[in-house]
Amino acid sequence: MTCEEFERVLPELGDGHTFEQEAHLRSCSACSDLVADLSAISQQARLLQGSEEPSPWVWNSIEVALRQDGLIRQPHLEHSRTPAPLLGWKLRWLVPAAAMFLVVFGVLMFQRGTGQPHVAGQQNPPVGVETAGLQPMAGDDLQLLRTVGERMPSMRAEYEANLRSVNAYIRDAEQSAHSDPNDEVAQQYLRNAYQQKAMVYEMALDRSLP
């Protein structure tokens, strides 16, 4: 089998190879490297899956539109645990809280930019919370998870997974931004990463309000 023949059938190959294809891979480092690279790309792609969530306003806008269309045929207060005006008051406090969170992170980022790079997800690592193979979580994150655990125990695992995922995103984005501070794309990714974290906090606090 030639390299050309092998590359022609490559799009059709799944995880398995025929005997002839295996033999070619053993004897040809170029094709073997190609298969390894394509496999690595495919595996790493999973890191990009669903780590982002849209902000809460997306659902709010959808709900408003559905009510206007008459597709939601229940009064708003029936399924809401909090009267609408009071819920609105509580949500209004979350917006500046989320903005403050972003500002604090931005300031910390600026201060770290003048000294040694420091990974956001590792600030103030508390004692005894490192799980095998996982980064220790910051005090603020642990506090949030404690709050979620008290108010909505069934959601704690999901929020922990969300926080770990967004912290990993922040770490990657910070590394990129630090390596080239003039890279606008990297800076935008970093801002996106902070926004994602602020959204996770906003949603957790919103849902855990009594």
């Binding site: 490559l10 799009p11 059709e12 480092s29 170029a30 490297d33 190609l34 390894a36 690279d37 394509l38 496999s39 690595a40 790309i41 495919s42 790493q44 792609a45 999973r46 890191l47 990009l48 899956q49 669903g50 780590s51 982002e52 969530e53 849209p54 902000s55 306003w57 997306v58 659902w59 806008s61 959808i62 709900e63 539109a65 559905l66 269309d69 597709l71 939601i72 045929r73 229940q74 708003h76 029936e78 399924h79 125990p153 069934s154 990993a168 995103y169 990657d172 984005a173 590394q175 990129s176 794309v185 990297a186 990714y189 996106n192 926004q195």
Partner: protein, 200 residues
């Protein structure tokens, strides 16, 4: 009753949520939204690389779906129906912006789009050296047609028969586009690595 069991009892199954949404139940609509929002948003975000645009498209995709929910008869999986709608919404947006969207049935490609077949015999393997940011940037640099297939298959985990149904192409075409996408990504990642290596 434990909290987990209560949660299980209270959670709507997708089928129940669909039936209740048809009756106008707000909680059912929200349950369907929460079940699928991440995958829809993730797809929109990867295709637009802009959070505001992605949120607008996510909203549009769900609204189109919910407005037609009365006609859903279960012939295909609900998620496939939703993601087909998301793909259409994204493609329409790209066309509105005048961005070149290569038809997924076309096999002709421009010189710029086609992955180059260079020997590169001395290039070390990519395995172990790809990080999320690099890959994210590289995916954003793919032509929209390749990017869509790559996102649906390698990122979101859809099979080729599902992708073919969603985007309206053949299974063979889906496999071919995916392969080209991966080859193009390999080229972009190697170029990027070579550029970094030459920087002082």
């Amino acid at each position: 009753m434990t909290d987990a069991k209560k949660q299980q009892g209270n959670k709507l199954s997708e089928a129940e949520a669909i039936e209740r949404a048809k009756q106008g139940d707000a909680e059912a609509f929200e349950a369907l939204y929460n079940l699928h929002k991440r995958r829809v948003y993730s797809l929109c975000l990867r295709m637009t690389a802009n959070t505001a645009a992605a949120e607008d498209l996510t909203q549009e995709a769900f609204l189109q779906l919910f407005r037609k929910i009365g006609t859903f008869r279960g012939e295909s999986a609900f998620s496939t129906w939703l993601h087909r709608m998301s793909v259409n919404v994204v493609l329409m947006q790209l066309r509105k912006k005048g961005l070149p969207v290569v038809s997924l049935e076309e096999t002709m490609e421009t010189e710029e789009d086609a992955p180059r077949k260079e020997p590169g015999a001395d290039d070390p393997r990519l395995a172990g050296s790809i990080d999320r940011m690099q890959l994210q940037r590289s995916v954003a640099a793919l032509p929209p047609g390749y990017r869509m297939i790559f996102l649906l298959h390698d990122v979101e985990g859809y099979e080729h028969n599902e992708i073919a149904e969603m985007v309206g192409c053949s299974i063979g075409n889906s496999k071919s586009q995916l392969h080209k996408a991966r080859m193009k990504l390999r080229e972009i990642l190697k170029t990027s690595r070579a550029e970094k290596a030459t920087k002082p």
